[in-house]
Structure formats: C-alpha cells, structure tokens
Amino acid sequence: MSGGPPKALPSTGPQSLRDMPHPLAGSSSEEAVGGDSTPSPDLLTARSFGDKDLILPNGGTPAGTASPASSSSLLNRLQLDDDMDGETRDLFVTVDDPKKHVCTMETYITYRITTKSTRVEFDLPEYSVRRRYQDFDWLRNKLEESQPTHLIPPLPEKFVVKGVVDRFSEEFVETRRKALDKFLKRITDHPVLSFNEHFNVFLTAKDLNAHKKQGMALLTRVGESVKHVAGGYKLRNRPLEFAAIGEYLDTFALKLGTIDRIAQRIIKEEIEYLVELREYGPVYSTWSALEGELAEPLEGVSACIGNCSTALEELTDDMTEDFLPVLREYILYSDSMKSVLKKRDQVQAEYETKLEAVALKKEERPKVPADVEKCQDRMECFNADLKADMERWQNNKRQDFRQLLMGMADKNIQYYEKCLMAWESIIPLLQEKQEAKDDSVEKKGRNAKNSEHTVLTHRISSFVTELSLLIKASDWVPHVHLSRQRSPRQVILGSLEAGVSRQTLPTRLCGRLAHSLRPSLQSRMLLEGGKGDAFSPVGTTPG
C-alpha cells in the first residue's frame, strides 16, 4: 500500500529547481540578492501573471518563486505556539498574503507560504512559495496516501457549506487562509508527517506541477485498490479501544455539529439584535431634538447605545472569525479520523482473512507464512501509530477547546466591559447636567425654595454617584433582586442598613453613608411621594 514517489525526490527537489531554467529565474535571483522579503504586491502579481500564462495550459499552479527570503520581519510574523509540550521546534511554516489571480480561464487565490527550518532536509534556511487551494488538496491526498496509518489534519471545505458567500470576498479568503495556516501548522507539529517528502516538496518546490504530474498515475491506481479492499468486509471484532474511539467520534461529531449550529444561530441572533440596536440608539437622538434640558442626557444614551452596538459587532466578528473555524476544523477532523479508522479496519480485515485462509490450510502446513506475519506487523504498526496520533489529537483538542472557551468567555467579558464603560460614562453626564443647572440657579440667587431644592438635588445626585460607585464596587448587586416595586435606591438603602455591603466596604464607611443618606432619602420620599418610582423607605409600605 505504499504509493509514494521515488525516495530520491525530496533531496533532489530543491536542487533540481535550482538547475531548472526557469523563465523568471532572473527576476527571482534578483529578488534573492535584494533580500526583499516582502516584494511589492504589484511586482508579485505581475510575476504571477507571467507565470500563469506560461503554465496554465496544463491546469497547474503558478508556483511562487522559491526565493530565500531573509528578512527578519518575517520572523515577527511567525506565531510561535508556546503550547508545544517542550518539544524543540525546528520547522516554522506560515501562510499569508493571499492574492487573487484573474485570467480568462479561471479566477483563484494563491497564498504565500513561508518556511523556515534548520532541518537537514531543507537545503536553504528559508523558502517562500505561492500555492493555491488545489495544491493543498494535492498535498493532503499525497499525505493520506503515503502515510495511511496516520491521522492527517483536515483541510477547510472546498466550498462554503451554505455558501452564498462570495468565494473571493475578503472574509472568506481570510478565514481560509487561517484554516490553511492551521493545517500546515498541524502537519509541521507532527513528528512523522512533517518529515514527509511530499510536504517538503510542497513547501519548497518552485514548480509543483511537475511533481503533481508525476504522482498522478500512481494515485489513481492506489485509489482503486483502496476502493477494492473497502468492498464491504465486515469485521469480526474490532478491538475494544478502537470501537470506543469510533463511538466517541460519532458522538463528538454530533455534539460539535450541534454546537456549530448553536453558534451560528447565536451569531444570527446577535446580528439581528445589532440591527435593532442600531435603530434603537437614533430614536433617542430624535427625541433629544425635541427636548431642551433633557437633550444632552438623551443624546448621551443614544451615543452609549451606539458604543454598545459597536462592541457587539466586534464580539460577533470575533465569534465568526475565531470560534466557528475551530469548530469546523474539529468537525472535519472527526471525519478524517473516521476514515483512518476505516483504513485500520481494512488492514485488520486483510489480516483476518489471511489468518483464516492459513487456518484452513493449517493442517497441511503447520507454520504461519511470512506474509501473514508481515500483515500482522502492519496491523500492529497501524494500531500503534493511530493510538499515538489519537493521543496527540486529544491533547490538541483539549488545548484548543480550552483556549476556545476561555477566549470566548474573554471576548464576552470584554464586551460587557465595553458596555459597562459606556453606561458608566453616562451617569456623570446626567449628573453634571443637573449640578450645572443647580449652580446656575444658585448664582441667580433665587428664593429659598430653589436653594433648598438645590440642596436636595445635590444630595440626590451625589447619592446617585455613590450608588453607581457602590454598584461598581460591590458584588452584592447580583444577589439582591431588584424588584419592580423597589427602586435601586430602596434596595441600596435597605442593603446599607442591613449591612449587606460589609463584604466590600468598611463598616464605618457604610454606616456613614447610610447615615448621610437617610434624611435626604426620607425627605425625598415625602417630596416625591407621587413620583415615578413611588419611593418609600423599606418597610413602610402597608401590606
């Protein structure tokens, strides 16, 4: 079942490339000399266009120039995952800089792949090539074919599932770029796959099409044989642990599918919420145009709702960009896991058939033939590889999901913090307004009625400041049910008197606060008996 190309290939790859009379060799060497790691897009596009014109007839890809980029700026862009369990890493691959190519035949996107490595398999410390999705697909097929016992990471779907999405839209390309980057990183991190010769070719070859054609014939043959074997052999007994893995994967895929749907639904709901919020804010602006004194507070509320909706938009974007792709990857992962499991079952089946055949002939020949032994070895190797990969995968999964959930919670926390800030900024606005008015009233030196009123409003506004500070400062708010009958003010007074806030505030301060508030609250109650919140101190309401 080994369908790999000749062994000599990986080492000859880069060399042959160098010898190859490439039509653009001149320009690429120039670039190499210049050491320009980030070639101007124009130049690159232009070159790709040239490439494409030459190579397209055979349906291939314009492989980017394998220029040994030597700028340190690239290093900065390399995102080092620190989660690697102490493994020293000697291979770094990044996917970036997507470019759209348009020609008469087709339109497609290429991505720049930059490789840095100290491994001996690589002749140069750095490579930079351009690849398109097809090439990634080719790589994955090759990997699957040459390392059948290993779990190959999934590629992003070829097309968006419910895709009305523009294949060339910026978001789609960016999402795919990230997914492809993840794909290559997973291979890079893999102790076996990262040494695969096809992977090497993929990362370094100037012209991938040559390699692609080479493998073509073999691929089809292998594909057939796989299909042949797959012809519905029923396993007698799958080992327990693999049966468990199989079951696990089924449930896992199911749950992730549900989570994915929920996440999409939430995003949909959030977007709709956003739409409504966008309408909600301006209504306050409209209202503020009608009012004199209230204009500023209303405008403030409007702006605040605007800020909240911006925060919400960011949250939704983050969810779409960070949360969904990971879920997708793992859903796809479970598919490739299943296919590896299936392959393993085939190998076991093969072995069992052979064993059976031998058992029949056992009377004649007591010794187990060599090929059956070999088959058993293969099966055991397979099992071992798969188990190791499974473990790796479990580890990755744990880490990824932990990060995912934490990240999600973090994003939400940030969102609430932003909203919090927005709303908190309103309160001083509302009060300053009030105080400013009171000051002006005082300056005009009106009668006692007004100054008394001023004192009261001062008290009230300072009270509200304290209230907001208290709410900010303490955790008890969630525990106190803000019932409709009891305004927050009542609740706070009640809590102050009951000493609820002792957790967060010094008792002395608490007492002082309650003491200073009591008279003003009481007079307020008398004065405002008929006002909106029907204020009365806790306990005096009959019934």
């Binding site: 709901e269 708010v477 803000l482």
Partner: protein, 481 residues
C-alpha cells in the same frame, strides 16, 4: 358654544374647597396643605421634617389586586380585576399614627375619576392611567388582561396614578378624589351628580375648533406640536425597545442550548469533562439571567409609557385651549356682526347687500317703532355679548395662566422623572453588565480550576477584578478627604 361655559365660576374654581360636613374634612384639606407645602417650600433635608411632621399626612397605596366576577349593566357575566386601595393618615408627632382605610375599586372607576378630573381641571395636565391593554410588549409577555404580570404592573401603575394626583397641588384638594379614596359605596353616583358629563366637550366640537381657530396661541401650537412629536417618538422608542428585548431574549436563550450540549458532550470526555460540565452550567445560568434583566427593563418601559400617555394629557389641555379660543372668536364675531346691524339700523344705510336691504326696498321702510324696538333689542344683545366677551377673555387669560403654570410644573416633573428614569436605566445596564461579567469571570475561573495546566486565562480573571478594587480605593479616598 353656549353650554361650554355656563358656569364659569364653577369651572374655573380649582376645586370645591370645603368638603361639606364630612367627618374627616380636616384631614382632607390637610392633605392638600401638606403636599402643597412640600411642593412650594421645597423641604431641604432632615430638618424640614420637624416642621412638617406635625401635619397630618396621608399615605396611599394600591396594595392588592383581585380577580372578580360580577354582573354588569346588561346583567351579563363578566370578569374584572378589583384593586385594593389603602389609605393611611399618619400622625407623626405623637406616634399614634394609624388610621387605615381600605376599599376596592376597579379600573373603570379609575377611568371615571380621571374623566371627571379632565373635565373639571381642563388647564391641568392630568396624570395618565396605565394602559388598559398591554402594548409594546415583546412576545414573551402575554397581552391578556388577566395575566398576573400585567395585573401586577397595572397595580403599580394605578398606585402611581393616585400618588401623582395626590401630589398635585390642585388635584389633591378635589372632593371627588378624596371620596374616591375613602367612600366605597355611592361614589359613582356622587360623581355623576356633579354633572361633569354635561360639561364635557364633544369630540366633534373640538375637531371643529382645531380647524376654525383664527388666532391660535403660538405657545399652545408649539406645545401641541411637541406633544405630538413626543408621543410619536416615545411610541417608536417603545416599539423598538420591545424588538430589542425580543432579540436580546433570543441571544441569551440560545446560549441555553450550549448548556445542554456541553453537559452531554462532557459525558464522553475524560479530562475535559468537568470543565465542559461547568461551562455548560454557566451557560444555563447565563441564559436564565435574561428573564430578570428584561423584567427590570419592563419597569423602564412603564416609566416611558407613562410619558407617552402624558403626551395625550398635554394634548387635551391644548385642545381645551383651542376650544376656548374658538368660543372667544365666535363670540367676538357675533358681537361684531350685531354691532354692524345696529349701526345700519340707526343710520339707515346699508353697507352690504343683504336680504334685509332688499326687503326694505321692496316693502318700504319699517315703522320707526319697529326700528326702535329692534335697535333696542340689538343694543341689549350687544351689551350682553360684550359682557360675555369680556368674561370669556378673562376666562381665557385665566386659563392660559393656570394652564401654563401647570405645564411648567409638568415640564419640570418630566425632566426630572425622565432623567431619573435614564439614570436608573443606565444603572440597570451597568448592573446587568457587571453581573454578566462576574458570571463569566466565575465561569472562566471554574473552568480553569478544572484545567490546572492552563495559565493563559488567568489574565482574564485578573482583568475582572482590577476595576473593582480601584473603585473601592477611589471611594474610600473620596470619603476620607
């Protein structure tokens, strides 16, 4: 036009000041005094209470609602909700305080009271009643009139209405209002005896006035315009808010699905199991917290709703003014035409071509006696008209003055209330954000505890705490200084 002001004295008097032979007469007028005093003198702080606690004070509350079945006028079975109104006069100085009184009223009686107030105090922005049927609700709340949530909100609304009336400097002195609070039986009859319905202006007339008034008062035009705008903007706001609440509800509730899936998923995971389980639990909490949040928001919506209905009350004042202006203009016109007639008769010249001129030409001059009599009659009418015009003018001015005073009072109340409403809305949002954040931080911490190897997320935990402590510090610093 005539019956609009048959008894101007009665109409423009604030209220029957002496409650006539009622045992608790003193109390009632005290109520007025007290509230008026409170309003006018603006008690500043604790010291004020000493002055006012010697006064009798009345506490009003609508403390209970009850579903009842009874027979209506058509002798048909009907179900309605009755509300228990409790009043309590409080003697503050000597401690022996309580004089509790309670009686049941139903919504239609509140309506009757308000209609009566509207008629008798056209220059006052009469506080509105809560809505008869739930409007601007988001889907989760039912629009059923008997829904306990709705009844409860209406109970609060009705209490608020009574408190607003009681705190109004004029309305609180009204006898009918007082009886409404204290006299269970025969109240309806007493109201009807006042004959307020006769004084009510028909809608048609009001509409007529709107189109015919020649010299409308600019201020009232503006006010009317404002109340229209206010009404439309608040109703728009409420509609959008209901939709926002709907969406928000959706967002939170869908998170609840995570809770289920996470806990199902946790069953198949070994090391991640606990973390997922607690994440799921937190998702459940997160999802269920929306109920409280939206319930709190309903209170804000109710506050806005009150002002939505206040807009209508403002308009009623404007309409009344228009009507009076119309009456005035009609009277003036009438008077002018009579004067002209009189002049014509006196001088014998006919300035305008009229039927009368024709008849004179055709049938010869009237006898001087007839003419004399007619002139006399006209002069009398003119005199009467002039007097009427004078009184109407006076009335009008009085009305404008009173109305404007009350509108100013209303404006102040509105600015204050709405500002309060906005502040409490903001505080509500703050506490909501705070709560959700704490919840999330907790969940992060818990998940983290289950995964001790993770160190990256401790940042978020710390992040959740920093603001809290800094605020406490600030608060303490402020109080020490």
């Amino acid at each position: 036009m005539e019956q609009a002001a048959p008894d101007p004295e009665r109409l423009w008097q604030p209220a029957p000041l002496e409650p006539l032979s009622h045992p608790d007469a003193g109390l009632e007028s005290m109520v007025g005094e007290e509230t008026k005093g409170a309003r006018d003198e603006g008690p500043g702080d604790g010291t004020m209470t000493e002055n006012n606690f010697s006064l009798k004070k009345i506490e009003i509350s609508v403390s209970e609602a009850e579903k009842r079945t009874g027979r209506n006028a058509m002798n048909m079975q009907e179900t309605y909700t009755a509300y228990l109104i409790e009043t309590r006069s409080v003697e503050h100085n000597d401690g022996q305080s309580v004089l509790t009184d309670s009686l049941w009223r139903r919504y239609s009686e509140f309506e009757l009271l308000r209609n009566y107030l509207l008629v008798y105090y056209p220059h006052i922005v009469v506080p509105p009643l809560p809505e008869k049927r739930a409007e601007f609700v988001w889907h989760k709340l039912s629009a059923d009139n008997m829904d306990p949530d709705f009844v409860e909100r209406r109970r609060i609304g009705l209490e608020n209405f009574l408190l607003r009336v009681a705190s109004h400097p004029m309305l609180c002195r009204d006898k009918i209002f007082y009886l409404f609070l204290t006299q269970e039986g025969n109240w309806k009859e007493t109201v009807n005896e006042t004959g307020f319905q006769l004084k009510a202006d028909s809608r048609l007339k009001a509409l007529n006035a709107t189109f015919r008034v020649k010299n409308p008062d600019k201020r009232f035009i503006e006010l009317k315009h404002y109340s229209d705008e206010l009404q439309s903007v608040i109703s728009h706001l409420l509609r959008v808010r209901a939709r926002v609440a709907d969406r928000l509800y959706g967002v939170y509730k869908v998170h609840g699905n995570y809770g289920r899936v996470f806990s199902e998923w946790s069953a198949i995971e070994k090391e991640m199991g606990d973390g997922l389980q607690s994440a799921g639990h937190h998702m459940d909490v997160y999802a269920s917290s929306i109920d409280d949040i939206l319930e709190d928001e309903e209170h804000y919506a109710d506050q806005l709703k009150e002002y939505l209905f206040y807009a209508e009350a403002l308009r009623a004042v404007c309409r009344k003014h228009e009507l009076m202006q119309y009456d005035l203009e009609m009277a003036a016109q009438d008077l002018a035409s009579k004067k002209q007639q009189c002049e014509e008769l006196a001088t014998g010249t006919v300035r305008t071509f009229s039927l009368k001129g024709m008849t004179t030409k055709l049938f010869g001059q009237e006898t001087p006696e007839q003419r004399e009599a007619r002139i006399k009659m006209l002069e009398e009418q003119i005199k009467e008209g002039e007097q009427q015009l004078k009184s109407k003018n006076l009335e009008g001015r009085e009305f404008v003055r009173n109305a404007w005073a009350d509108i100013e009072r209303f404006k102040e109340q509105k600015n204050h209330d709405l500002k309060e409403a906005l502040i409490s809305y903001a505080v509500m949002q703050i506490s909501m954000c705070k709560k959700m954040k704490v919840e999330l931080v907790d969940s992060v911490a818990e998940v983290q505890m289950n995964k001790p190897s993770c160190d990256t997320s401790s940042i978020s935990r710390r992040r959740g705490e920093i603001p809290k402590y800094s605020v406490i510090k600030a608060l303490i610093a402020e109080h020490n200084s």
